[in-house]
């Protein structure tokens, strides 16, 4: 029974990541024209990290990061590195916080996305406080909202 449940969760996680990654790359040009937008790739990695071990989450983060790097070309490797770390750290939170309580998941997605965007921005030499303290938090809020919609995928059916 437990094995079947785990398989269900794993299938849900894979499906969710593929869907979010596809939408992230497809809608990228549209999102770029908005002042703030959800980061679906980070959302996928963070949600997946809550379901799998640190090594697996880091691997998923690395692969997703490589795809992101291939799409944006500039500063190749930055997203792979940051998403690898994010996946790893996200998976470690499983030992600290158990379950999918909505307030926790919202905070988790918000903090994860904000950290990723701020770190990426600072790494490319950005120095705009507006991005770090306004645009990135708004992106993180939007990502949290999308994350809530994806939580049902994580539950065994």
């Amino acid at each position: 029974m437990i094995v079947v449940e785990r398989r269900g969760i794993r299938a849900g996680v894979i499906l969710m990541i593929l869907l979010l990654a596809f939408l992230h790359f497809l809608l990228g040009p549209l999102f770029d024209s908005w002042f703030f937008s959800p980061n679906l790739l980070v959302c996928g990695v963070l949600l997946a990290a809550r379901q799998i071990r640190p090594a697996g989450a880091a691997s998923i983060g690395f692969v997703m990061g490589l795809l992101e790097d291939a799409m944006v070309v500039s500063h190749f490797g930055l997203a792979a590195l940051l998403l690898l770390l994010l996946g790893y750290l996200g998976s470690l939170t499983r030992d600290l916080f158990v379950g999918e309580e909505l307030l926790f998941m919202g905070t988790y997605l918000f903090v994860g996305t904000w950290l990723y965007e701020a770190a990426a921005f600072l790494a490319i030499g950005g120095n705009s406080l507006m991005f770090v303290f306004l645009q990135a938090p708004l992106d993180a809020l939007a990502t949290g909202a999308v994350g809530y919609l994806m939580i049902p995928f994580m539950r065994p059916r």
């Binding site: 596809f22 790359f25 497809l26 990228g28 040009p29 549209l30 770029d32 490589l66 795809l67 790097d69 291939a70 799409m71 944006v72 070309v73 500039s74 500063h75 190749f76 490797g77 930055l78 997203a79 590195l81 965007e117 990426a120 921005f121 490319i124 030499g125 950005g126 705009s128 991005f131 645009q135 990135a136 992106d139």
Partner: protein
């Protein structure tokens, strides 16, 4: 991140030509659709205007072909350049774009190190050419260098981007020569990458920080990465001097 820049671009191009192909095709289709919708009305208006002009310009096309053959511009315009659409790529919050992707590639004759130009001047250089697409760097990329000279050929130097800004720096100008603000800078043709005569920009002022017996100047670029979408890729330049291409355009 520790990989050499060209390896990074090669990896990006490989992923873009394999796993990411479906997404990129869909992106292009959506982008074309939205662009078409926006421009439909505009095109209708232009069509009506053009129809009227075509009637007035009958015979000019034939005359143009004859004159181009006469002065040797046919080859310069049709063989040396390949038109391409340029897509600047960058991360969220990245103020100055550094790299781009072209919708033409090796199958169109584009090779590694091919110069990319726009009607106003130098845009950048192709780094990786794959089937149907090419990846390159704008002049804003920290690795970008071009051998340059003043339009009158009096002063030579090396053009590089000023870190994190949309401004260039001309290094290595002789100490005893003073360049006036507004002096036009073009490619010198030395180094074998950029043919001679492509406009780069205009001198703004002398840099206060000097080193050794050479001067440096800030240069206002002829082309800003954010403002360019349609470009020409130089595919067969050899030792050609392209000064006349831009001179003809300026005169027009």
């Amino acid at each position: 991140m520790a990989l050499p820049h060209e390896r990074q671009l090669a990896m990006a191009t490989t992923l873009r030509s394999s796993v990411l192909v479906p997404v990129l095709r869909l992106q292009t289709a959506f982008s074309d659709m939205s662009a078409m919708r926006v421009h439909l009305e505009e095109l209708r208006r232009e069509r009506d205007n053009l129809a009227a002009r075509v009637l007035a310009l009958q015979g000019v096309d034939e005359e143009n072909s004859r004159l181009r053959a006469l002065i040797g511009l046919a080859e310069r315009g049709d063989v040396l350049f390949v038109p391409a659409n340029l897509d600047p790529e960058g991360r969220a919050g990245e103020r100055v774009k550094r790299s781009f992707v072209l919708d033409r590639g090796a199958s169109d004759g584009i090779l590694k190190d091919a110069p990319v130009v726009a009607p106003s001047g130098l845009v950048g250089v192709v780094r990786i050419a794959a089937q149907g697409q090419a990846t390159g760097d704008f002049w804003t990329h920290p690795d970008f260098r071009a051998s340059a000279m003043t339009a009158d050929g009096r002063v030579f130097g090396i053009i590089r981007p000023q870190s994190g800004q949309s401004v260039m720096v001309l290094d290595g100008a002789p100490y005893q020569v003073e360049l006036d603000p507004g002096t036009e800078i073009v490619t010198s043709g030395m180094g074998g990458v950029f043919p001679r005569g492509i406009p780069i920009g205009r001198v703004v002022e002398e840099l206060s920080q000097q080193a050794g017996w050479a001067k440096s100047y800030t240069v206002q670029p002829a082309v800003y990465p954010d403002a360019v979408r349609e470009v020409m890729v130089v595919i067969e330049a050899g030792d050609a001097d392209l000064t006349a291409v831009w001179t003809v355009e300026d005169e027009e």
